[in-house]
Symmetry: C2
Subunit: 315 residues, 2 copies
């Protein structure tokens, strides 16, 4: 097993693919980027260098490493060219099962025999994505969050198909990139993060539509409250520590009744009708006037400051 790949490939030049490429470039690794859409490809050839260089200002990369990575960052003109010589192929196309199956079928044919292939899917099962591949043992989900170059978590999902050697190789690469892979024991729709995020967003939408709180106040409440708590200790540990010496047993005694009341009143819908979608979009756009680039810049500064602080507090 090799510690560092000689070359990496990113297939799909949207926001997540560009983020993977920025992360790899920021680590000084050679990256070949490929997308069938020429406009998306052109946009990424501009945004990846910007995002990789931004990592220097955010104290997440050094200028020398980024410039070395950029010298080996290239635009492939075919999926074959993209994959040639690559040890790790990252799929980051749109979240559409049929499309991903076709991409994986091509990758299965053109990737080097020893290469591992990971899908960035936020919620599909690898068993389905790789259904048409002959060499399924090297296929798995490695799901990053947005933006991939700043958030350390990667959900790694071998499902029933990836071989242990392939999973170990992916873990090695991810750790060398400063990522923290968490390996799930089985495939479920949305993995772990998508399901938790869906639960949070449904209730967040309901609270705004019910007029309990405005969009920006809800966002600030989560940011300055439970998100800080969960960043320092996940949900289960938080409650284990919330009832003095009694641990989670004491917590359940004190607050299970409250949770039962709250659970019974949570939003239950699984579709947001068109009028509600419009009301939500309008409320969000009313709350956030600044352009997307400026809002993302501010978000990325806060995010990298938190990640640095956590790294320092662990040392």
């Amino acid at each position: 097993m090799s510690d560092l790949p000689n070359k990496t490939t990113v297939v799909g030049a949207g926001d997540i693919g560009a983020g993977w490429a920025a992360l790899l470039v920021g680590a000084g690794w050679p990256v070949s980027l490929y997308d069938t859409d020429a406009r998306r490809m052109d946009a990424a050839m501009e945004s990846v260098p910007q995002r990789a260089r931004a990592l220097v200002d955010l104290q997440r990369a050094t200028p020398g490493t980024v410039e070395r990575g950029l010298r080996e960052f290239s635009h492939a003109h075919s999926i074959l060219q993209a994959c040639k010589g690559a040890d790790w192929v990252i799929e980051a196309t749109s979240e559409d099962l049929m499309a991903k199956q076709r991409v994986f079928q091509s990758l299965d044919e053109v990737a080097e025999p020893h290469a591992i292939i990971t899908s960035s899917s936020s919620g599909l099962k690898i068993e389905d994505i790789a259904a048409r591949c002959r060499n399924q043992g090297r296929c798995m989900v490695a799901h990053p969050l947005n933006p991939p170059e700043l958030i350390p978590l990667i959900e790694l999902i071998p499902g029933r198909i990836a071989k242990p050697e392939a999973v170990a190789q992916a873990q090695t690469y991810l750790r060398a990139l400063g990522r923290i892979p968490i390996t799930l024991k089985k495939s479920v729709p949305g993995h772990v993060v998508g399901r938790i995020a869906a639960a949070v967003w449904r209730e967040s939408i309901q609270l705004v539509l019910d007029g309990v709180v405005d969009v920006d106040d809800l966002d600030r409440a989560i940011s300055l409250g439970p998100a800080l708590g969960w960043a320092a200790a996940g949900p289960h540990l938080s409650y284990h520590l919330a009832a003095g010496q009694g641990g989670v047993r004491g917590f359940l005694q004190q607050l299970m009744q409250s949770f039962e009341t709250w659970w019974s009143g949570l939003a239950k819908w699984d579709k947001l009708d068109f009028e509600q979608q419009q009301a939500l979009v309008n409320a969000i756009e009313r709350s956030y006037h600044d352009n997307i680039g400026k809002l993302r810049g501010a978000r990325d500064r806060r995010l990298s400051a938190i990640v640095r602080a956590l790294e320092e507090s662990r040392q």
Copy 2:
């Protein structure tokens, strides 16, 4: 309206009451603590100075201020003595509506006429808590998270009863303490944070009981992933920034179908039966061997590091 209270009162010496007292002492404010339970009171007279002094190591308070606060930190022997001369009375008794109604009825009688009275309830409505009070206009919920001395958010809920002057006074005190009050537009069970936390915990429990992920891996996944994202940008803003220039409209186009799939598969139960509670408690205790004090210390170091980083990134 005064900027600083001459004296504050905390009624209820459990974990949350002791946290409020540590926060107030850490700011150098005079505090009178009262609880009907002598054992809880004795424990708090030990833990409050410890927690207040810990704020110095965590770089959340200065030694001089803490020691000044401790000189004016006292144990009251009656609710009347506790409230005498206090401008702000904080109720932090157990989450039981009938018990809180009785406490509020007493506070209504003994608190100074100009004092504001805030409840730390994590989910009850102030209209219900203050139902037996004559002077309801000074009553509201000011809900802190655990631990109150470290997490900046306070959910402030005037409901239909608190007068604007009383709310403004509470906001002034809370901001002077370095807290960030978010005012909700109406009372709902669980407020905002309890509802979101209930949604997160239900799905977190389900994922563990379904064998998708172990307790500690789920906690780490949330801590190193979505919690960091939400700490930097709340749920609505996160999705507004997750689809390039398209904003939340583009995001809904790309991912609404995925969310609908995930929503339809989320846990729906509103009671956790005894066997499941036992399975959960066992899984949490298997994952976290260290004693509660040690785990809390590590959590508090991470939490204060994050809070400091966010404060610095805003400057």
